[in-house]
Assembly symmetry: C2
Homo-oligomer: 333 residues x 2
């Protein structure tokens, strides 16, 4: 046993999607660094062959076994379903969903036990997950349940911008109803806690308003006055460097870190999915990384899905997955 | 009389703000081209002196009088209030509001009569406008009333992106209530009509949805299914190249025109103020231009306000105003 504290667990994702391929590409390019793939040896062998990469796949007996050089190190969770080598690429299959869930659960247990420095998850397909009988809609909810975390938040990050969302996959009308003092303050506490964990004790957190011009003093909506500003004040009273609420249309520009443009803030909290994701994605999705905040371990993922339309047919782009690995290493310290 | 069909009317804006100064700078830099300033000679002389630019101010008897070279050509509307040279910089003053309104009205009449190719408006202060007894909240509403236009829309544009907003300065909650089939279809018709006017007979118009992932088939909100998609279909039936609804978080990235990244669309229609303005402003506000669509003439303005905090104290940045002039010339053809 040669425990490597810097080893990341890479979950293979849906075996019918591009997940196994982008894992192989990230390892082949050297971008992955010390890691263990939590997945199926058959699936990873097929992905290696399909990618045209002459990289051996090594089966580890235990997740912290020594890894031979220049190979794809795979640890198979004991509960992994059989027959995964026969899956059809690009199709929703319950077995693929069950295998993906099994790998996520096994990786979470490794992270909770401190056996890996963090988890990077390859994409899963939510219909396949549901078909396998898993009632969680996605990674985030599964990991939250496995870790027993009271609340989590999604952070999207690239080289320029880190954005944390208060609400995510709900109708905009419903998002407005879900927003309140507690949702904003809880987000600020989660951001602060995560930043401390990754070694940034006092990040400058900007809070974007909900309404045009952040409500312009109540003229265009009162959410800023009623609970966003009070939640910021409560966070400040707890020692959090939270500022705002700022006009949504200029706060991301102000926070942007680019050559010759030092950002004014380290993280922006956005009230809605699209206020936050429009600026993160504007310059391209290749480098976007999804980070789950509020878990007791580091978890990142690429900002794209299983790409069933190209899986096994055309080469997949591993850049976002590689960026997710880099981000996980950075956050794991 | 030497009527120059390419002459633009530049309204001086609030005389206590940076409007007169950025006009002088745009003329001095050569960026303005053929133009006539609709404003006060006293105000423009003071702005020239404060800017340290040795440029004579020439008073024209009529807006289409010949303009001597290398000067700031000013035409004073007959109804212009007196005493404007004594205004205090950086303060809300009813006289400044009245003068700004007078210049806007005079410029609109010139444009309606075909005496100028278009209008570029320097910033006004809405409190000063209100203090002067004008009941319109801003330029757009004043110009719409003067032109008798049934509906107008705001377009924000820079070198990469052109975005038209269905709703603007209202609470986000209220914006969702205001959206319907007619609001979306009317926007598409206004965009199409404006594009034809500026010589683009069939622009590729992308419509951004309202909800995350454009509602994901009704899972996250039904506005896309209920009226956005039907309004797009109705526009297509009228011969408009409207497409969507697309996920708000990626449509602006897809529409972006940049070196090596030809945009997929010419114009994006956004349902809300901040969905549209976050991407336009993300890379900086210096080059953003506001264009009013739906008027029978071209009208542009810079994407900033009167900047009372620096007016007359520190040099103002004329780049957005110069971009507004360039855009007006481009749209006037």
């Amino acid at each position: 046993m040669t425990h490597d504290a810097r080893r990341l667990a890479l979950t293979m994702g849906d075996a019918a999607g591009i997940g196994p391929e982008i894992i192989v590409r990230a390892i082949a390019s050297g971008a992955a660094g010390p890691c263990v793939v939590v997945g199926s040896v058959d699936v990873m062998r097929r992905a290696t062959a399909q990618s045209g990469l002459l990289l051996p796949v090594a089966l580890l007996d235990a997740p912290d076994d020594a890894v031979p050089p220049d190979c794809v190190p795979v640890w198979q969770p004991p509960a992994l379903p059989a027959g995964l080598g026969d899956l059809v690429m690009g199709q929703v299959q319950a077995t693929a969903g069950a295998a993906a869930a099994c790998c996520i659960e096994a990786a979470a247990r490794l992270a909770l036990a401190g056996q890996v420095a963090g988890i990077v998850t390859a994409p899963i397909h939510k219909e396949a997950l549901a078909a396998s009988g898993v009632h969680h809609p996605g990674h985030t909810e599964m990991l939250q349940a496995l870790a027993g975390a009271p609340a989590v938040r999604m952070m999207l990050a690239n080289g320029e911008l880190r954005v944390v969302l208060v609400t995510i996959h709900v109708a905009l009308r419903r998002a407005i109803e879900l927003l309140d003092f507690d949702a904003v303050l809880q987000t600020l506490r989660i951001v602060q806690g995560a930043a401390v964990r990754w070694g940034q004790p006092r990040p400058r957190i900007a809070v974007a308003g909900l309404n045009p011009h952040a409500g312009e003093g109540g003229l265009f909506g009162d959410e800023e006055l009623r609970f966003i500003a009070p939640a910021i004040a409560a966070a400040v009273a707890e020692g959090i460097d939270a500022r705002g609420p700022f006009a949504p249309d200029t706060v991301f520009m102000r926070a942007r870190h680019a050559p010759g443009h030092p950002g004014e803030f380290d993280i922006v909290v956005a009230m809605t999915h699209d206020h936050g994701l429009i600026p993160v994605k504007y310059l391209g999705v290749e480098h976007g990384v999804n980070v789950t905040l509020g878990l007791p371990f580091v978890r990142t993922s690429p900002d794209h899905g299983t790409a069933f339309d190209i899986a096994g047919r055309r080469p997949a782009d591993a850049r976002s997955f590689e960026a997710a690995i880099r981000m996980a290493r950075q956050l794991a310290g």
